[in-house]
């Protein structure tokens, strides 16, 4: 074996290691994306159907999502992606930040809340994408743009529209990542 062949072999090894880590991270994250996509789609639809109970519906379904993420996070922990408590700590920080601005300072109304939370989540996805892969950045920018367009362009059907673009977007992305 000469130096060129050895360098080619090392290059192939490094490329495969990067592809493996990324692919595994995508597969492990896909279940969480699908879970949250389903939760968001149901919550948005229920917000449209029974708007008087929107707050309680979102609280209950968000709790389901957090618990589900913790359960799914155990598999990520087994594969060396950090302990499960980090997932709960991440959610706590995220919700505290969002609640501080949307409730504490902004006093957002229902429609503003519907636009604020998904764009905040998508901002997080864009940031995460800088480390985890560009699919997160594409998802974050695309969904945030669609949420903003709907906010200005649509009337009372806005929650239904969000169920499709936000919930559906997460589910489609999760399904794609599952086979990545």
């Amino acid at each position: 074996m000469d130096a060129t062949q050895a360098a080619d072999a090392l290059g192939e090894i490094e490329a495969l290691r990067i592809a493996t880590r990324r692919s595994l991270a995508y597969r492990l994250a896909s279940a969480k994306l699908i879970l949250w996509g389903a939760i968001v789609a149901v919550a948005d639809f229920m917000t449209y159907a029974v708007p008087v109970h929107a707050g309680r519906i979102w609280l209950a379904l968000t709790a389901v999502g957090v618990i589900g993420s913790g359960i799914l996070g155990r598999r990520m922990a087994r594969n060396g992606y950090g302990p499960v408590w980090r997932i709960f700590a991440g959610f706590a920080l995220f919700f505290a930040f969002g609640a501080f601005w949307s409730i504490g300072i902004g006093h957002f109304d229902g429609r503003q809340m519907l636009a604020f939370w998904p764009t905040l989540v998508m901002f997080g996805y864009c940031l995460a994408g800088l480390w985890l892969g560009r699919v997160y950045i594409i998802l974050g920018l695309a969904v945030a743009a669609l949420v903003a367009v709907g906010y200005f362009a649509l009337g009372p059907a806005y929650p239904l529209y969000l169920a499709v673009v936000n919930g559906g977007g997460l589910i489609v992305c999760g399904l794609w990542m599952r086979q990545a």
């Binding site: 074996m1 130096a3 495969l16 290691r17 595994l24 594969n79």
Partner: protein, 99 residues
């Protein structure tokens, strides 16, 4: 002077070992279909090379049913990880002109 590992040296087996050693030691391993996608090998070819690596005790193969579907998970052993690191050291020594 280090020497190549004749088992790992073969291209498909090198790719299998590169993928498996990219995981953390405590990780679950990779399922067959995932490994097939990553290595670009065919079913039969991949199976034969995994058998070869298993006989050398470089990998372990676990078969189970998940949601009523058969699932084969391949994991690298500590011995396999050491052999792979040694082979990588050999490749580096070739580049450095030491082999």
């Amino acid at each position: 002077m280090s020497a190549p590992d004749d088992i790992i040296h073969q291209p498909v087996r090198l790719r299998i070992m590169a993928a498996l050693t990219a995981l953390q030691p405590e990780a679950e391993g990779l399922d067959f279909s995932h490994l097939k996608k990553l290595t670009g090998a065919t079913d039969g070819n991949l199976g034969a090379h995994i058998d070869h690596l298993a006989k050398a005790r470089y990998v372990t193969v676990e078969k189970a049913f998940v949601a009523r579907r058969p699932r084969t998970t391949v994991s690298v052993t500590a011995e396999g990880r050491r052999a792979f690191e040694k082979h990588v050291a050999f490749l580096r020594s070739v580049i450095d002109g030491g082999a």
